[in-house]
């Protein structure tokens, strides 16, 4: 693969940020984020000159993607209220301009949807654990004491992860050398399985931290909230923050005795506690979602950096957030194994005096696969190989998922539900994970499972009144577009087929959705409609898993052609830099 020296220098510099005078306890000095040029000319695109005395590597939301993949970033990621026009709510050229990335480059391909198919063919796949492993080893060679943080959503997202109840990813994470993790989809294997993995597999190797998960009766913590470590004689603390709305966004029955929530007051107490114990650097490993991270950084003091995930935002520079005593860096490192973030602190006189940050896109064809990890992946896939690689259909169109309202892969799942289930309309959840497929590629069972592999996959067929449809749509829209980030749950708007509607994301709860139409007629409040769906968070008595429904449809149609997904009519969002028409 050819990559000119100039190109990889651009790659290195555009994504890096440096600044002075961080957080905890100092508000007097000016913090400047600036684009920094590495002083030495790298001989390798991923050579990163070491800096300071405390280092972290961070990846998040890999969703069990062991192999390199394509993953298209969204062209709709609306920011409302205070989030308008700010990272991460920028798409396409607005994103590139904001971060100083040149269009048409390898880096523009990593961070945006622009010319996606052509760029994907030119620059190849991203991620993959064998490639990530090589990169991590290389960074570790430069920074022997660096800690590897995994933001969670690691044990879920693939067929093999589901079929092994997360075991393939647990073992892969250990091999990768993850030091500390927190979680979200991990919990959908159930409380017992999570505890079993922590006790039998992670013990002594990976610390699973979450300050905001407690048992419901007396609110005792389920997991260790933080860990104290040392790098180069400097004491540091890492605090875990799991996804706060797991029991609402995912089935509560999987974790009936656990309560979550943001719990930022408890977090403040912990930050004060670890500072009291001598921590000179405090990092929160978060699965809040970036908007929640940004608000939390403005309220909780004494944190040097929040390294976050959940909303899958790959943001090449930290957001620097002021609070009453200092400043906190908020970093979100994308998803699906596409990115590895490297954060270096220079600690002097008991506090952070300077930092360097670099987000490295994992270009699979620029990195040699790690032999040990590659062998492990082969081994773990071997028993399932034929099943995984079975071709169910061919796609003529680009299939992807991300975007606030719909993706072509979601459209396929919706079309399959309407056709196979015989419904008036269909719902499909606004998940943000799963591979993208290029025109001409086969839709394998593995690709389909990357969109659907969950522990509550049953396809449902319900009768719902028009009035209740409106209530459901308004409720989900509020979870996504509430003006206060602490009420946002991440994910995207539920996808619909059969149902057309208009949405004004800037309106208040119960006033966002209008003009609902099913198959050309206005939805009537008292009329009942047949609605297909899947991934219900309440127990479902019977039903086939969604992947069987889609598989039946794919084998029937043989070739998929979806040029554009159906999206609702948008109001109140014109000019928003978080939206680009395609």
């Amino acid at each position: 693969m050819s990559l000119s020296r100039r190109e990889f220098l651009q790659l290195l510099t555009a994504a890096s940020a440096a600044g002075f005078a961080l957080p905890g306890c100092d508000n007097s000095s000016t913090t400047t984020a600036q684009t920094a040029t590495q002083s030495a000319t790298p001989t390798d695109p991923y050579e990163l000159k070491s800096f300071g005395n405390v280092s972290f590597m961070h990846f998040t939301d890999c969703h069990a993607q062991l192999l390199p993949l394509h993953f298209r970033e969204p062209n709709i990621n609306l920011g409302l209220g205070n989030a308008y026009g700010k990272a991460p709510h920028l798409v396409g050229n607005k994103f590139l301009k904001h971060f100083g990335i040149k269009p048409g480059t390898r880096e523009a391909y990593a961070y945006t949807y622009l010319d996606y198919v052509e760029a994907a063919r030119q620059y190849g796949k991203v991620g993959g654990f064998a490639h990530l492993a090589t990169l991590i080893k290389q960074i570790r060679a430069q920074r022997p004491s660096a800690l590897l943080l995994d933001g969670g959503d690691t044990w879920q997202g693939s067929a093999t992860a589901l079929w092994t109840q997360g075991q393939d990813m647990v073992d892969a994470s250990k091999l990768l050398g993850v030091d500390i993790m927190t979680g979200h989809w991990e919990f959908t294997y159930g409380a017992e399985r999570v505890q079993e993995i922590i006790k039998n597999d992670l013990d002594g190797q990976i610390e699973f931290l979450a300050q905001n998960v407690v048992e419901t009766t007396f609110e005792d913590r389920i997991f260790n909230p933080y860990t104290l470590k040392e790098q180069n004689g400097i004491k540091i603390a890492i605090i875990g923050q799991a996804f706060p709305y797991t029991p609402i966004a995912n089935p509560r029955y999987m974790i009936p005795d656990w309560s979550f929530g943001i719990r930022d007051e408890a977090l403040q107490e912990l930050v004060d506690e670890v500072r009291g114990k001598g921590a000179q650097v405090v990092v929160v490993l978060s699965h809040n979602g970036m908007d929640v991270d940004l608000k939390m950084a403005s309220r909780v003091t004494g944190i040097d950096a929040i390294m976050g995930g959940h909303t899958h935002d790959g943001v090449p520079a930290p957001s620097i957030i002021s609070n009453s005593t200092g400043k906190t860096l908020v970093i979100n490192s994308g998803s699906n194994g596409k990115f590895l973030s490297v954060l270096d602190f220079d600690v002097k006189g008991g506090k952070v005096s300077d930092y360097r940050f670099k987000m490295l896109p994992v270009f699979s064809n620029l990195i040699k696969a790690d032999a040990q990890m590659a062998a492990y992946i082969d081994k773990v896939r071997a028993p399932y190989k034929a099943k995984l690689e079975e071709k169910l259909a061919i796609t003529d169109s680009l299939l992807y998922r991300r975007g606030n309202f719909n993706g072509t892969f979601d459209q396929l799942i919706l079309d399959a539900q309407i056709e196979v289930q015989g419904a008036d309309m269909a719902f499909s959840p606004g998940f943000r994970w799963g591979v993208s497929l290029l025109p001409g590629e086969a839709i394998t069972r593995e690709a389909l499972m990357s969109q659907t592999a969950i522990t509550y996959p049953k396809a449902t067929l319900n009768t719902i009144t028009g009035e209740n449809l409106k209530v459901i749509m308004e409720g989900i829209a509020d979870n996504l577009f509430h003006e206060d980030p602490y009420y946002q749950m991440g994910g995207d708007m539920v996808r619909t087929a059969g149902l057309k509607y208009t949405i004004d994301p800037t309106a208040k709860m119960d006033h966002r959705i209008s003009d609902m139409e099913i198959n050309g007629s206005a939805v009537e409040a008292s009329k009942e409609y047949t609605v297909a769906g899947w991934a219900a968070v309440n127990p479902v008595p019977e039903g086939r898993p969604i992947w069987e429904v889609v598989e039946e449809y794919l084998k029937d149609i043989k070739v998929v052609k979806i040029d554009k997904p159906n999206v609702p009519k948008l109001k109140g969002s014109s000019g928003n830099p978080g939206i680009a028409n395609i």
């Binding site: 007396f218 029991p247 943001i262 539920v494």
Partner: protein, 155 residues
């Protein structure tokens, strides 16, 4: 479950309320102790307050803290804690404005008790949750909105 935490919680609340909650007293005992039927049946907060305290006027107080999730994980059991840093707390009540019958809980505290009460309440939908604290013969109040939401789609 930590016994010490449990003891701390039970001591802070009224002994009667805890005893009733854990089934140590038969319902008739509770009734005998003065079950405020009218207050629990009231359909507005004003009627509820009149029935409980003989007056519906309450002054907003910054000394009352309500600890409750901003979004309920399960509307059927929403944890609510009321902390009143007021002298001579005599009674604490919690009301859910949008419930058909707003009064969720009412406790009388014996002399010398701390103004702290922790409970679980049931909520039908998103609503203002209000704590009423009687202290020194006066009624004080504070409230917080708890959202009850549909699930799904996180991710």
């Amino acid at each position: 479950m930590k016994r010490r935490t449990f003891m701390k919680g039970s001591l802070a609340g009224s002994v009667l309320a805890v005893a009733a909650g854990s089934g140590l007293l038969k319902p008739t005992d509770v009734l005998a102790a003065g079950w405020p039927k009218g207050a629990f049946d009231a359909q507005t907060e004003a009627d509820m307050l009149s029935s409980l305290y003989g007056s519906s006027s309450a002054a907003a107080s910054g000394k009352i803290r309500i600890k409750a999730p901003i979004q309920a994980e399960n509307g059927r059991v929403v944890p609510v804690k009321v902390q009143a840093d007021l002298a001579n707390v005599e009674a604490i009540a919690v009301a859910v404005a949008k419930n058909p019958r707003p009064l969720a809980t009412s406790v009388n505290l014996s002399g010398g008790a701390t103004g702290y009460y922790s409970t679980r309440i049931k909520m039908g939908k998103t609503s203002k949750v209000t704590a009423y604290v009687k202290a020194g013969g006066k009624l004080h109040t504070a409230s917080k909105t708890v959202k009850v939401t549909v699930g799904g789609c996180g991710g």
